[in-house]
Symmetry: C2
Subunit: 255 residues, 2 copies
Amino acid sequence: MTRTVAVANQKGGVGKTTTAVSLAAHLGAAGRVLLVDMDPQANATSSLGLHVADGTPSVYEVLIGRAAMESVLIRSGEPGLTVAPASQALAGAQVDLVDTADGDLRLRNALQPVLGLFDLVIIDCPPAVGVLTVNALAAADAVLVPVQCEYLALEGLGQIMQLVEAMRCGLNPRLDLLGVLPTMFDSRTNLSTQVVDEIRHYFPNETFESVVPRSVRLSEAPSFGKSIVAYDAHSRAAEAYAQVAQEIIARGYWR
Amino acid sequence: MTRTVAVANQKGGVGKTTTAVSLAAHLGAAGRVLLVDMDPQANATSSLGLHVADGTPSVYEVLIGRAAMESVLIRSGEPGLTVAPASQALAGAQVDLVDTADGDLRLRNALQPVLGLFDLVIIDCPPAVGVLTVNALAAADAVLVPVQCEYLALEGLGQIMQLVEAMRCGLNPRLDLLGVLPTMFDSRTNLSTQVVDEIRHYFPNETFESVVPRSVRLSEAPSFGKSIVAYDAHSRAAEAYAQVAQEIIARGYWR
Ligand SMILES: Nc1ncnc2c1ncn2[C@@H]1O[C@H](COP(=O)(O)OP(=O)(O)OP(=O)(O)O)[C@@H](O)[C@H]1O
Ligand SMILES: Nc1ncnc2c1ncn2[C@@H]1O[C@H](COP(=O)(O)OP(=O)(O)OP(=O)(O)O)[C@@H](O)[C@H]1O
Ligand SMILES: [Mg+2]
Ligand SMILES: [Mg+2]
C-alpha cells in the first residue's frame, strides 16, 4: 500500500520545502514518487524548475473540485519524480473551503485514485496551521517535522505537535509521527548542539539519527531548478538527505 | 502623528520577528514604542521573555472585540518598549473574522485610541497572506519587507508586493513601502551578494542601505528573552539594526 508523508511545521523557514524536495528526489531515483505542493508560495514547484502558467489547473483546482489530481500531474526533470504543482491561487483555498462539509478531506479524497501509480507520496506544507496543512495531515499516514537548529524553531515544536494530536483525535486517527528532523545544523555554534540535544530529549524515539548540516549548496540548488541530488549529489547535504531517506525506508514507509 | 509600520513577508523564516523586535528595542530607547504581535506563534512576545497565561486577553481578544487594545498592553523589560502580546488563540482569527463586515479593519480600529501614547507602532506579521497580515497592512502607514539573502526568499518578493499593491487599491490607499531589508547576509557566500544585487536592481529606491549580517547572537538573544540591544548591544547585528533604525528616522517615520 502506497504511503503518504506530510512535511509540516508552522514555523517559517525551517527547511520544509528543502526536505520534501530532497527526499522526493532521493527516493524517486529508487522508484516512483509523487511530490504534492500545498504551499501558495509554490516553492517545491519552482525548486524543480517547474511553473504553472495562468489558467492551467493545479492543486488549487483539485481542492475545489474543478480538476482531477491525475490531470494536473507533471513530470519533474528528475528520475522517478512527479509533481502536483502549486500556484498562488492556493492562497484562496482557506476562504473557499472553510464552510464546506468535507473541506478538510479534499486532498485525501483527491489522492485516492492516483496512489497506485506511486511508491510514495510526499506533501510540502505552508508555514501555517490553516486548511492547507489540515488537508495534508488528513491525507497523510505520517508526518515528518523539520526543525531548524534555532531557539525559536524549538519553541514552535509544541504547536505542530498539538495539531498532530488534534488530527489523531479527529480526522485522522492513524496519523503517525514519522520523526523530527534537525536541519541547518551549524557545527560552529553551541546553539545548534543545544537545540539538537533538546529535541532528542523531548522526542527520544522520534528524532532522526541523521542531522542535516547548514550548507549553501542546498540554497543554491533551487536557483538552478534542481534538487540537491541533481545539483550536487556528492555534497554533505545530499549525503545527509540520503541517510534520512534510508531511515524512512527502514521505518517501513517505502512501497 | 504617530506612525505605524508593519513588518511583513509571507515567506517563512526571513527575519520578520527578529527585525520587528530589534527595531522596536532600538527605537524604544529613544522614545515610546508599541510592538504588536500578530503571529499565532507569538515569537515577538516570547523573544522579549513575555508570555500570555491561559485566559488572559491578548491581541486575539482585541480583534474579536472582547477586549480593548489598552487593556492587553504589557511592559517589556526594555526601556520605552510596550508589547501587545499574541497567543496561540490567534490561529482561530482567520475563521472568526472571515464573514464579518469589518474583519480586515479590526486592528486599525483597535489601535486608534492608543496611538497617542506612542511615538511609533511596529507590527510583526505571520508567514502568510491571510486575515492577520491583511489587518496589519490595513492598519499600517508603511510596510517594511525583510528578505533573507537566499534564492527562494527573493522569488517570494513578488507575492508580498502584489498584496501591498492590492491593499493600496482597496483598504489602504496611503500604504507606503518603507523599504526592503536584506537579512542574514553571509559574506562568505556568492549567493548572498547575488541576492542583494538583485534586490537593489528590482527596488533601487526602496532598498535599505544597511544589510543585516547573519549572526548567531541574533538567534541566541530570544532564548534569553531579550532583544539584541539588551543581549549584546555592541555586536555587529545590533549595530546593523541601529543603522536601520536611523534610516527609518531619516525617512520621517519617527514621531
Ligand atoms: N540545510 C540547509 N542549509 C542551508 N540552507 C538551507 C538548508 N535548508 C534550507 N535552506 C535554505 O533556507 C531557506 C529556508 O528553507 P525552506 O524554504 O526549505 O524552508 P521552509 O520551511 O519550506 O520555508 P517556508 O516556511 O517559507 O515554507 C531556503 O532559502 C533554503 O534554500
Ligand atoms: N541576521 C540573522 N542572523 C542569524 N540568525 C538570524 C538572523 N535573523 C534571524 N535569525 C534567526 O533565524 C530564524 C528566523 O528568524 P525569524 O524567526 O525572525 O524569522 P520570521 O520571518 O519571523 O519567521 P516566521 O516566518 O516563522 O515568522 C530565527 O531562529 C532567528 O533567531
Ligand atoms: Mg516551504
Ligand atoms: Mg516571525
